[in-house]
C-alpha cells in the first residue's frame, strides 16, 4: 500500500521502499544503532580477555582428539556433496601445554621460551599457500586462537606457488608449500626458513561402481592411464594386477589438477621413478613439475575440491587428491606398489611409515616419494611453512614462532582426525631447531 507524500515538495517525494515512509529522525537513530553494533563487535576481541584465560591443567586430550570422526566440523571450503556421514565434531577441550600468551613465559612441553612481553595488541596473521594443507591449518589455527585470543590467523589456500610468491614478496606473514623453495631460499626480507609442519599423502581416488577400494595399481599401469594408452578399466594391464576382481568395461577418465599442485608433483615424481620409459619419454620428461605435464589427456579441474567433485560425479574417473579430502568424501582409493614391492593403500599408518622412514630430511632433501619400507605408502609428502628468518617486528616474530612451535608439537594431535599423520619425532625436532634460528632485525635470536 502506498502512502502519498506528506507535502507536495519535490524533495519529499522520495522513493518509498515498499510504500512505507521512513521519517527522517529514525534514519539517524538506525544508523547510530548500526554503528554501535559494529563498534561493539570489533571491540569484543580485546587483549584483556586473553589475559583473563587461566592456564589450563594438563589433561590427556589426545584420546578425545583421535576419537573424533574423520569428517571434521572445521570449516573446510569443500563444496562437494559428500556422502560420508558428517558427525558433530568432538567438544573442544583445551589442548595440552597451552600456547604461551604474551605475558606468560611457559617452557613446558618444548614450547619456545622468550623474553616476556608486556601488553601486546591482538595479532592478525595472514598466510597463503598450499591447498592440500587447508583442512589441517583451519583446524589448528581455530584451536590456537581459542586458547590465545590475541592471535587470529587467516590462511588463503590458493596454491603452493601463490604462497611462495607471496612470501618472497613479503606480502604475507607466512607461506606454505608442498615443495620447498630451492635452497638457499630468500626473498625481499632476507633468508626464508622452511619448517615442516604436516605429513600428508596423495590418494589415487577412483569412482567405479561395483569395485571396492584397494584396486592394485603400479607405476607403469598408472602411467598408461594418465598417458591415455590404457583406455578402459578392464584393460589387460589392470586385470593382470587384480586377478579375481570383476572389472567393468567403463572408459577411464583421468582427471588432473588444472592449476599447479603439490600432489601433482608427487605423482609426477612417482611415475618418473616407477613408470618407465613410457612416462619419462613423454612430455613429462625426467624432472617432476608442479604443473601437470600432460594436459592433453583427460580433464583438468581446479584445486582438490574440483578434482574431488569431478570424481564423485563421473563413473570411471580416476584422479589424485590429498588424502584428507578423499577421506572426507569417502572415496575408494587405489593401492599403489611401493619400492618394497607391496601394494599399500593410503592410511594414517602407511603415511606415517613413509614419514618415519625419512632420514636426513631437510629443505634441500625433502623427497619421500617411493621411500623404503614394507608398509610405506609411496605417495607421501611433508608440507613446508615458509617464514622469514629475520623478523623486523620482534613481537610478531615471537608470535609466529610460538604459533608454529605449537602447530608442530601439540597441534599434531589434530592431524590424525583429519587424515594427516602426526610428524615423526625427528621431523618435529627439525621444526623446533629451525624455529630457534628466528632472529630480530638486529640479528639477535628471538628464542633461547
Amino acid at each position: 500500500m502506498h502512502r502519498g507524500p506528506v507535502s507536495g515538495r519535490a524533495q519529499d517525494r522520495r522513493h518509498h521502499l515498499g510504500g512505507v515512509r521512513v521519517p527522517r529522525g529514525s534514519t539517524l537513530i538506525v544508523s547510530l544503532v548500526a554503528v554501535a553494533v559494529v563498534a561493539g563487535a570489533c571491540g569484543s576481541s580485546t587483549p584483556s580477555a586473553a589475559k583473563k584465560k587461566a592456564t589450563k591443567t594438563e589433561t590427556s586430550t589426545s584420546t578425545t582428539a583421535t576419537t573424533a570422526p574423520s569428517t571434521a566440523g572445521a570449516a573446510t571450503s569443500t563444496t562437494t556433496a559428500t556422502t560420508a556421514t558428517t558427525a558433530v565434531p568432538a567438544a573442544h577441550t583445551a589442548p595440552t601445554s597451552p600456547p604461551a600468551s604474551s605475558t606468560a613465559c611457559s617452557t613446558t612441553g618444548g614450547a619456545l621460551s622468550a623474553t616476556c612481553d608486556t601488553q601486546s595488541p591482538s595479532f592478525k596473521l595472514s598466510g597463503a599457500g598450499a591447498n592440500s594443507i587447508q583442512p589441517f591449518f583451519t583446524r589448528v589455527f581455530y584451536y590456537y586462537s581459542q586458547a590465545d585470543k590475541a592471535v587470529s590467523v587467516n590462511y588463503s589456500p590458493a596454491g603452493s606457488s601463490v604462497g611462495v610468491t607471496d612470501i618472497q614478496q613479503n606480502t604475507v606473514n607466512f607461506g606454505d608449500s608442498e615443495i620447498p623453495i630451492p635452497t638457499p631460499a630468500s626473498g625481499t626480507g632476507g633468508n626464508i626458513l622452511q619448517v615442516p609442519v604436516d605429513l600428508g599423502g596423495v590418494a589415487l581416488s577412483y569412482n567405479l561402481p561395483g569395485v571396492s577400494g584397494g584396486l592394485k595399481l603400479d607405476g607403469p599401469t598408472l602411467a598408461g592411464i594418465f598417458l591415455g594408452t590404457i583406455k578402459t578399466w578392464n584393460d589387460s594391464a589392470i586385470a593382470a594386477l587384480n586377478p579375481g576382481v570383476n572389472l567393468p568395461s567403463t572408459a577411464i577418465v583421468p582427471v588432473h589438477r588444472a592449476d599447479s599442485s603439490g600432489p601433482g608433483y608427487d605423482l609426477d615424481q612417482y611415475l618418473i621413478d616407477t613408470g618407465g620409459s613410457a612416462w619419462t619419454g613423454s612430455a613429462a620428461g625426467t624432472t617432476p613439475s608442479t604443473k601437470w605435464p600432460l594436459p592433453k589427456v583427460g580433464v583438468g579441474e581446479q584445486l582438490n575440491t574440483g578434482v574431488a567433485g569431478f570424481i564423485q560425479q563421473t563413473p570411471g574417473a580416476i584422479g589424485y587428491v590429498e588424502y584428507a579430502y578423499s577421506l572426507q568424501a569417502g572415496f575408494t582409493n587405489a593401492a599403489l606398489k611401493n619400492s618394497a614391492g607391496s601394494y599399500v593403500k593410503p592410511s594414517q599408518t602407511s603415511i606415517a611409515a613413509a614419514g618415519a622412514a625419512s632420514s636426513g630430511l631437510s629443505a634441500s632433501n625433502f623427497n619421500i616419494v617411493n621411500g623404503a619400507g614394507a608398509g610405506t605408502y609411496p605417495l607421501a609428502n611433508f608440507s613446508w611453512t615458509l617464514i622469514y628468518q629475520k623478523q623486523s617486528n620482534t613481537t610478531l616474530g615471537v608470535v609466529l614462532g610460538k604459533l608454529f612451535d605449537w602447530v608442530t608439537t601439540t597441534g599434531q594431535q589434530q592431524a590424525a582426525a583429519l587424515g594427516y599423520s602426526p610428524l615423526p619425532a625427528n621431523v618435529a625436532a627439525l621444526a623446533h631447531s629451525t624455529l630457534l634460528t628466528l632472529e630480530n632485525s638486529a640479528g639477535k635470536p628471538l628464542f633461547s
Binding site: T79, T80, A81, A158, G159, S161, V162, T165, A251, V253, A258, D259, S260, A283, G285, T290, K291, P293, P295, K296, V297, G298, V299, G300, E301, Q302, G306, G309, F310, Q313, T314
Partner: protein, 332 residues
C-alpha cells in the same frame, strides 16, 4: 530611460561568436571555469594514460615470448624441444567455439525475452522479471562457475549431452564421450552470464522503436506477434547488434567460470562434447605457477592475444554499427 521598444533590445545571441578557441576562452573566463576545464581534461588524460600504460606494460612483458617464438606464437605458442606449452592456437579455437555457442544460445533467448518483456508482458510480470534477470548479472563469475560445475555438469553429463548425441543431424557436432565439462557446457554457462546484458540492451532498443512503426503495422492488419516480428525487432536491429557485440566482449574475456567447466584439456576439440581450453582459462590456470622469464612472458603473451581479439571484436562491431547507422540516416 531604458529602452522599451523591442527593436532597441538586442536579440539574444543563439550562436557563439567565433570557434572552439573563442568558446574555450569564454569558458576559461567564467568563474570556476578554469578548475572545471582542468578537471575535465585531466580526467580524460589520466584515463587514456592508464589504458595506454596497461597495454604498453603488457607488451613489454610479453616481448620476450614473442621474440622467442615470433609470429608462430599465435598458433603454437611457446614451444620448446620437450614440451609444447601454451598452445595458443588451441586456446584461440576454444575461445571462439565457446563464444559462438554462448551467442547461439543466448541471443534467441535474450532477444525473445526482451521482446516479451517490452511488448507482450503485462506490467505486473515485466518489472519483477526484469529485476530477476538483472540479478543474474550481479552474481559473481566464480559462483556461476561453481554452480555450473556442481549442478549443471552432472545434468549435462547424464541428460543433455546424451540427448544431443542421439539426434541424428547433429552428429558432426556432438560425438565422443560425454564427461560433463565440455565446450557446450562452457558455452551454456557463458550464455547464462551474458543473458542479462542482451536482455537489458535489447529491451531498451525495442522500446525505442517509434510508435508510428508499430501503429502502421497494426493498421495494416498485423497481429500482435506479427507487429513484433515485422516492425519492432527489425527496427531495433542496430541496438540488438550493439547488445550482442557487448555480450560477445564479455564472453570472450571470461576466465574463472569457464575454467571450472571447460575441462582444461589442451588438445584440439573434435566435438562440442570434448573438453578443451580457452585463453581465459589457460591464463588463470597458469599464471600463478609461471616462473619469471619465458614462462611468465608466455602467459602475458596469451593475455595480449586475448586483448587483441577483444579489441578486434569491439572495434569491428563499432565500425559495423556506425556504417549501419549511416545507412539508416541516409535512408529517407
Amino acid at each position: 530611460m531604458s529602452p522599451t521598444l523591442l527593436e532597441e533590445i538586442p536579440p539574444p545571441r543563439l550562436t557563439p561568436i567565433g570557434g572552439v578557441r573563442e568558446a574555450l576562452q569564454r569558458r576559461w573566463a567564467r568563474p570556476g571555469g578554469r578548475a572545471y576545464a582542468v578537471l575535465r581534461w585531466s580526467g580524460a588524460t589520466i584515463f587514456a594514460a592508464i589504458v595506454l600504460g596497461l597495454v604498453v606494460s603488457l607488451l613489454a612483458t610479453a616481448s620476450q615470448a614473442f621474440g622467442h617464438s615470433g609470429v608462430s606464437f599465435l598458433w603454437s605458442g611457446t614451444y620448446n624441444a620437450t614440451k609444447d606449452i601454451y598452445p595458443t592456437g588451441i586456446f584461440i579455437v576454444g575461445t571462439l567455439i565457446t563464444t559462438a555457442v554462448a551467442i547461439i544460445v543466448a541471443v534467441p533467448i535474450g532477444v525473445g525475452t526482451a521482446a516479451f518483456l517490452s511488448e507482450l508482458a503485462p506490467k505486473w510480470l515485466s518489472s519483477p522479471l526484469s529485476v530477476l534477470i538483472d540479478l543474474i548479472a550481479a552474481v559473481p563469475s566464480i559462483v556461476v562457475g561453481l554452480w555450473g560445475l556442481l549442478v549443471l555438469s552432472p545434468v549435462f553429463a547424464h541428460h543433455v549431452e546424451p540427448f544431443f548425441k542421439a539426434v541424428p543431424l547433429l552428429e558432426w557436432f556432438f560425438h565422443g564421450p560425454a564427461y560433463g565439462p565440455s565446450m557446450v557446457l562452457a558455452g551454456t554457462v557463458l550464455a547464462v552470464m551474458i543473458l542479462p546484458t542482451i536482455v537489458a540492451l535489447s529491451r531498451s532498443a525495442l522500446t525505442s522503436v517509434a510508435r508510428e512503426d508499430r501503429e502502421a503495422a497494426r493498421a495494416l492488419g498485423a497481429t500482435r506477434w506479427q507487429v513484433v516480428r515485422t516492425a519492432v525487432v527489425p527496427g531495433a536491429r542496430t541496438g540488438i547488434e550493439a547488445a550482442v557485440i557487448l555480450a560477445m566482449g564479455r564472453a570472450l574475456g571470461e576466465t574463472i567460470a569457464v575454467a571450472m567447466v571447460i575441462g582444461n584439456n589442451y588438445s584440439l576439440p573434435h566435438s562440442l562434447l570434448s573438453p578443451g581450453a580457452t585463453l581465459g582459462s589457460a591464463i588463470i590456470n597458469n599464471f600463478g605457477e609461471a616462473n619469471p622469464g619465458l614462462d611468465r612472458s608466455s602467459v602475458v603473451g596469451l593475455v595480449v592475444v586475448l586483448l587483441g581479439i577483444t579489441v578486434l571484436v569491439n572495434v569491428g562491431g563499432q565500425l559495423l554499427l556506425r556504417s549501419r547507422l549511416r545507412t539508416q540516416r541516409a535512408a529517407p
